[in-house]
Symmetry: C2
């Protein structure tokens, strides 16, 4: 379970101050599938980076499965991310001079998975997003949506407890997006994978059971897709 209380993230000060996230509180029980929506610049990615232990809030409390994250040092945060969290970045963040399969294997290397299993686990993850036929191409040889799907495969290959996906379908056509959402819903149901997904497309965001709606760093609505 994720428990966030009074979280803020402030950049700059005085006239140049930007309150990217402003006093946000919510809980996400294990196995939930939550969508995060809201206008451009409303704090969605900032909140995701805090939940994913990639960024430290300026104020507030964050408990990840009962652990108070503020009390962890750099090493412990990295360990927690590596073992429990899969992250799909809004900008893909693939390494340019490595193939798709090598990019997907990276989290397995950090997690000390034996070398003999890594390639087959990476190909299986790429197969689940429809890209095993491009496993040995590097990002410069892939289209925008193909890169996005490699990033999704990389986030799923370690079979995380929590998947944080920041606009995972932003560059995908409707059919491919729908296939990715089918995959995520299947993992959520069959493996009780907890998912927090940013999506600006209501058609995909409403596949989740719950929507957190951000405006100017605050959550203005929290409820079922129908309510929000």
């Amino acid at each position: 379970i994720i428990r966030v209380a009074g979280i803020s993230k402030v950049y700059g000060s005085g006239a140049a101050e930007v309150r990217a996230v402003d006093d946000v509180s919510f809980e996400i029980p294990e196995g939930d599938f939550v969508s995060v929506m809201g206008p451009s610049g409303s704090g969605k990615s900032t909140a995701m980076n805090i939940i994913g232990c990639l960024d430290v809030p300026t104020a507030g409390r964050y408990e990840f499965w009962g652990v108070d994250v503020a009390g962890l040092d750099h090493e412990e945060l990295a360990l927690l991310r590596r073992h429990y969290i899969g992250f799909v970045f809004q900008g893909f963040n693939l390494l340019p001079r490595m193939t798709a399969a090598e990019n997907v294997q990276l989290p397995l290397i950090y997690k000390n998975v034996p070398n003999s299993n890594r390639r087959s686990m990476a190909l299986e993850a790429l197969e689940s997003v429809g890209l095993s036929h491009r496993a040995d191409h590097d990002p410069s040889e892939l289209s925008g949506g193909q890169k996005q799907r490699v990033a999704i495969a990389r986030a799923l290959v370690t079979e995380p407890t929590l998947l944080l996906a920041d606009e995972p379908t932003g560059n995908l056509d409707t059919t491919t997006s729908s296939e990715i959402l089918d995959l995520l819903q299947r993992l959520n149901r069959e493996r009780t994978l907890t998912i927090v997904m940013v999506s600006h497309e209501p058609e995909f965001a409403s596949r989740a059971e719950r929507i957190l709606y951000f405006v100017d760093g605050r959550i203005t609505r929290d409820g079922t897709p129908r309510e929000v």
Copy 2:
């Protein structure tokens, strides 16, 4: 007017051959607003890079406003791009250590616009996408959708004849996307700006008068939004 005949782009050879674009022909009269749609990996960006003179086709003929592009050297292609074409890249392609305003001014520097006008032209372009208040922040301090809008401002600041926008609203919420499409439609009508826009969102792609639908490197449908 853009006239493309029998254009192909092939990568690799033999078993590894990828026909990114495969024998494509179309014409775009001046002042048209055309949307390009199709599944991920279907050749949309490759076609856009060829139209924008950023990439050379493997075969076929391309005439830009009556000029046979194949007959131009590197320098002449760069001159043609700088003076006539604005390009919004799928990955934004902003320079990291420059502010938003400096990024938007870059095409003006290449076009030898006097220094005294550049800052005000850049701020006006940023204002048109709702970001003048973040002009002096660099890309690392901007959200995904804010970066995308800086990239749109940069493409428009030179008042090009042709705007090529590759997924310009991929990271924007519906309201902000709608505002960008309003802006593009206004420039298309008032300044007869010719626009070719890749968009996977039918709601925005149908703002154009015509849709080119790509599948596996070929155009399978070419017609009005209603027909396609």
